[in-house]
Amino acid sequence: MIAKPSFRAKLWNWTGFANREDQLSMLLSLVIGVLVGLTVVAFILLTGRLAARMYPPGSAAWRRMLVPVTGTLVSGYLLFRYFPNARGSGIPQAKFALFIQEGYISLRTVIGKFVCCSISLASGIALGREGPSVQIGAGIASVLGRRFGLSKSNVKALVPVGCSAALAAAFNTPIAAVLFSLEEILGDLHAPVLGSVVLSSATSWMVLHLILGDEPLFHTPAWQLVNPLEFAIYAVLGVVGGLASVCFVKLLLKLRIWFRALPQNTVWAQPVAGGILMGVFGLFVPEVLGVGYDYVDRVLGGDFPVKTVALLAVMKIIATPACYSSGNAGGIFGPSLFIGAMVGGTIGSVAHVLLPHVTANPGAYALVGMGAAFAGIVRTPLTSVIMIFEMTRDYSIIVPLMISNLISFFISQQLQREPIYEALALQEGVYLPTGESREELAGIRVSDVMQPNANPLPLDATIGTAKSRFEEEKSTSWPAGDPHHLQGVISSHQIETSNPPPDTIRDLIKADGSYPYVHVDHPLSYALELMRDNAVDVVPVVSRANIRQMNGVITLNGILSTYGIGNAGSAGKAR
């Protein structure tokens, strides 16, 4: 008897989700957007409410000493005892999950990150909420993907979707969130998950707006260029922002090495070191406590004493690395914006004092400084430009922003070779592919290795002629047809296994006319994939306008020679 399928099974089959994981992934992107948006909003609000309780208006100075110490002690113990994977920023952890753990992030880590970060951030330590949000978002995506029984590759593909949703809600910048996921998390702006990433980012952003309204994270002044000389000052800001970024990153990495060298049984107490430093700093300069977005808002408004702003920049450059390296849960995304705003505010104020008639309000420099520091520390220049653009919604700021960001990015790249998240991963013994390394790998193209003057075997050539050509070319396969009308690629393996034995190579041409091919602008990696999938060691290079038009060939030997490896060996090895 046939077992009658249930209504649920029928519905499942009817929707097509039973066999189409891609569609389910797309639908999950929406769900992830909603769920991550709600979670991140709850995270932001809860942290804010907790912080308001810890530091009520007009509270005594001792609180500024006691609360960070207690907060780091509690969260440090929780991290050590229950949630070891919730330590740190969250962005390297999301990348680990993506590149090493097949997209796996446990629910426990998500909960741990939420709880520990809420405690530590509310206690006033100088770390941000965006990094943790990214890990929470990636974790929710990972958990959902697994629970819905998606394949590992699809679960992995959902990680950047969660990251993007989290960042869109945490920072109120949906486009920058998409770019960040592609530029930093995936390291590939042409990633195939772009659609899902955009979908989740937009959904999450809508959730944020439904609950918190249309209030931007920062209230920025309308930017205006007073005099072209200001471009030079923005360039100086780029230089100073780059140097400040390098100081920040180097200090963070050094301190982290130092903390990692401490005995293992002190790990639970290490976060308190950050708490004590924050307590001492906070006792004298309360503005340094927490991520400090309120003060950034004031600086953007152009209302601040320049000495305080300069002092805050220095203190934050010391405080954030100390808090992060000691093992607290929290990100460096927010602090990098704080440092940038303070550096920009300082430069802008000095410039305004020296050249009052040719410079804009110092708030404008603080705004550009945020982008410069972000580009220097996080090393995502495109994201930093778009992020500030999204914050201000002012197109005219783009040019000075690009000048400062690129200078800062360049200086940071020269003085600190490894980007911060990759350097942190390396300290863990993990090599993560960066956007830059991908670029380098993808740098060699088919056009660099192609043999342009190769002729295909004519279709009426005998098998003997074909074998002679294989020997002559030291390969096991070769294109066949006319140079202007390519018919296929034949291999010695085909000749050997063909039954009945072929008379001419025409008999070996596939009936559907398909064959592997590449174009001149393809990366070598793609050519290698084709060779593997089609069991050949030669692939024709064809015109983009006409795939039957052969412009040359690319051989496995040629590729290996390019990398300095020498001859690939005899025929048949391609298989």
């Binding site: 519905l11 709600l38 609950i211 209030e215 309120d294 408004g301």
Partner: protein, 377 residues
Amino acid sequence: MSGQSTATPPAVPPKLALIALIALVIAGLAALDRFLANAQDAEVRRLAEQSYLDGRRLRQEGKIVEAIEALRKAHALERRNTEHELELIDALIATRKADQAQFLVRDVLEREPNNGRANLLAAHLMIANGKAADAEFYYHRAVYGEWRGDAAASRVSVRMELADFLARRNKQQELLAELLPLQAEVSKNPAAELHLARLFLAAGSPSRAANEFRTIINQNATNATAYAGLGEAELSRGEYRLAHEAFLAAAAHKPDDPSIRRQLELSSMLIAVDPTPRKLTSTEKYRRSLQILNSARSGLERCAAKGPALKYDRVRELLTSANRVSSNKPRRGVTNEIAEEALSLAEEIWQTRIKICGEPVPADEQALRLVMQKLSQ
């Protein structure tokens, strides 16, 4: 049948429980978020209102720096509260922090372009930045803008402020255009009426000013300021006797006021020197004309002595003519025409003096100025 039983089993349905759980989590999180957001909003609003009230109190106590700090806090907490923002802008303008105020004003006007108070503050800001034309534009927008509470009273107040501004800039035509609609609006407010009457004077409409002052006097016959104002209006109209009577009435109600006494002396002097009254004998008119001519000549000499004017031929020529007219007695008796000639020369000298040294004239030349004003009419 057995072959059928080994057919591919149906695809495994998803766990409905999981979907239900996700829906439940979403609903729970949404409720939690809404609760937290509402709680935060309420607290933020309370804190912002407290800071706003503190700021206003501190401002009233004259602690402007502390007031700005409190108002800034109120604004930072509740960005969309226009009232808080406008109070901050006002305080910033008062402390000459125009550049900071400018961003905020722009922000409010982008949001609420018809907000009356925001436009008024924008006008203040423009004045602080020396942009008088822009200030005038914003004043007009404020007059026709939206106001909270008693909108009519606010509009009258702004129009009066605009009138003061125009009076300061000596834009008489525009000033008169603003004053005319105000006439009906301020009829029940004596202080505003008095101010309006003075503005009519500044607008070069002494008749309207005199009427306004008379209305006030009719309501309160002991108002010395109104009598003094009426005297000034009558002086401007050239009605020196009426002016003198008004100043006498003012002095009767405010005998110790030195300015009224000065005006009284001035009006007496003008009555004595005025060459225009009817039934004046030719000899007397000629005598007064010479007196005016001599005053005008002295004025020009004093003015020319301050600068290089004496080297101009025209000035020397006028002074010589004045000397000649003063020193040469007419051979065939004094006629009205001779007096008129002397007055014409005096007028020409006066115009030259104004051209060289400009206005305003010193206090001792006020009488001459008023006479010349009357003669030019």
